[in-house]
């Protein structure tokens, strides 16, 4: 006998507090970790092509170590081992959420470093040459010319990383972070209505990723370097052609 889908339970679960909190936690953890990963990843990317061997070596070491370490293991180390080694972490402020933030940031930074490096390398070297010829300094060239163009290249793979990270946050349940999937599991074990409970969780993930994809396309458009007047018709051209019924 197949259990029928109970929409009442589905709606109830969908609107329940633990789900909302779980989703917010997952989003918060993802955004903050990805943000930190970009901040660490940028110097890592620059470090990989530094003139100084020590800097190059450290950047390589970082990327090697954190890509080789399983995320789950890293979460456990950061949560369980850090407080044992360093006294500062053995206090109340060191919450599971904060530990998860550190672990995911460290881990993700290694990947973002590679993505940003590829983005910087993909910018036409002629751009930097022209900027140097004008007398611009290294940092000015990066800030004004190279980074804005690299951003356009880096956005799509970063969107992928965001989605991967969003799903990875469920690993943080091992250090008792109650993100979305943990809440779903708890609900399922209380109510035994798997279809409704997991269905609701699925809806949350679909909605979160949809919002992200929308924001990503907005961002990509912002970093497409065309004047406003020309940007709009290019997008309308296809539907307009088919509307001539």
């Amino acid at each position: 006998m197949v259990a029928s889908f109970d929409t009442h339970i589905f709606w109830e679960v969908l609107r329940s507090g633990p789900y909302w909190r779980g989703a917010l936690l997952a989003i918060g953890l993802t955004c903050s970790s990805l943000g930190a990963a970009c901040l660490i990843g940028f110097p890592l990317a620059l470090g990989r092509s530094s003139r100084l061997f020590v800097v190059r070596f450290f950047a390589f070491l970082y990327s090697w170590f954190f890509r080789a370490t399983p995320t789950l293991l890293l979460l456990l180390i950061v949560w369980d081992v850090f407080p044992q080694i360093w006294g500062v972490f053995a206090h109340n402020w060191y919450t599971p959420f904060f530990a998860a933030f550190i672990a995911l940031s460290l881990n993700e930074a290694a990947y973002m470093g590679e993505i940003i490096r590829a983005g910087l390398l993909a910018v036409d070297p002629g751009q930097e040459l022209a900027a140097r010829a004008l007398g611009m300094k290294r940092w000015q060239i990066l800030r004004r010319v190279v980074v804005p163009q690299a951003v356009r290249i880096v956005i799509p793979p970063t969107g992928n990383e965001f989605i991967t990270l969003l799903k990875l946050t469920s690993l943080a349940s091992v250090i008792s972070v109650h993100e979305l999937l943990t809440s779903a599991n708890e609900q399922a074990s209380i109510k035994f209505s798997y279809q409704e409970v997991y269905g609701a969780a699925l809806v949350y993930y679909l909605v979160m990723v949809s919002i992200l994809m929308f924001l990503q396309s907005r961002l990509e458009r912002r970093f497409t370097f065309r004047s406003r007047a020309r940007r709009a018709p290019a997008q309308l051209s296809v539907p307009v052609a088919h509307d001539a019924r």
Partner: protein, 245 residues
């Protein structure tokens, strides 16, 4: 003391053991226009890059006015580069900026002009190359000829002591070559000191004060255009001219 604006003395340069420049000496006086021709790989572009202070020389020296600038540290060089304008074969306009911003950016970052002044001066120079109405367009939206004219304005706006052109028309469709050459001719008539790598022989004949033939990293012949074209001294020059014309 010398009245040369730009001077190279016995410049040597090699890449990975390949000798590209093997003792090049060159003097460009105020208001002179030197056109360099020669087969690909003869070192024309490398010579220009050395003159533009974009490449360090292995031996010999580059002077701007009376100052020897080769061998100086990168930080010092950056400021001096803006005194020599450089125009590239592939335009190298900053893809993330409008035509106006391309012309403004170094005025702001290098010359430290206030925004309004920089803008005013940039528009004046865009006007000089006939592109005032394209100020808000991005490079992608301009034709090759228009892009190259913006690139010329970008270099001119810094009020350089000399302008270097590295095959400025060889990436252009034939019907777009004229508009760029016209701008360059106007510059020459206005008394700008110029070094031009180009195989536009009609232009060279018309505008140059002297023509230089490069082969295998050396200048093998230099003469005023009439003499150069009617009675080239070197066999190599004769063979080359026969192929280009």
């Amino acid at each position: 003391m010398t009245d040369a604006v730009l001077r190279a003395r016995d410049v040597h340069k090699s890449y990975d053991g390949l000798a590209v420049l093997q003792g090049v000496s060159l003097e460009v006086g105020r208001g002179e226009v030197k056109v360099i021709i020669g087969p690909s790989g003869s070192g024309k572009s490398t010579l220009l890059r050395c003159l533009a202070l974009l490449e360090p020389v292995d031996a010999g020296a580059v002077y701007l006015g009376d100052e020897q600038l080769s061998g100086r540290r990168e930080k010092e060089l950056a400021a001096h580069r803006s005194e020599v304008g450089m125009v590239f074969q592939r335009f190298n306009l900053f893809q993330n900026m409008t035509a106006l911003d391309n012309v403004t950016v170094a005025l702001r970052d290098v010359r430290r002009l206030p925004k309004a002044d920089a803008r005013e001066r940039a528009i004046e120079f865009l006007d000089r190359v006939g592109l005032r109405d394209k100020a808000d367009q991005y490079p992608e939206e301009l034709s090759g000829g228009q892009q190259q004219r913006v690139a010329i304005a970008r270099a001119l706006v810094m009020r350089p002591k000399a302008m270097l052109f590295d095959e400025p028309t060889s990436a252009l469709d034939v019907e777009l070559v004229r508009e760029v050459l016209d701008v360059m001719e106007g510059l020459a008539r206005g008394g700008m000191t110029m070094v031009v790598v180009s195989h536009e022989l009609r232009f060279a004949h018309h505008v140059a004060t002297s023509i230089l033939m490069m082969d295998e990293g050396r200048i093998i012949e230099e003469a005023p255009p009439d003499e150069f074209f009617s009675a080239p001294k070197q066999e190599r020059t004769r063979r080359f001219l026969a192929l280009v014309e």
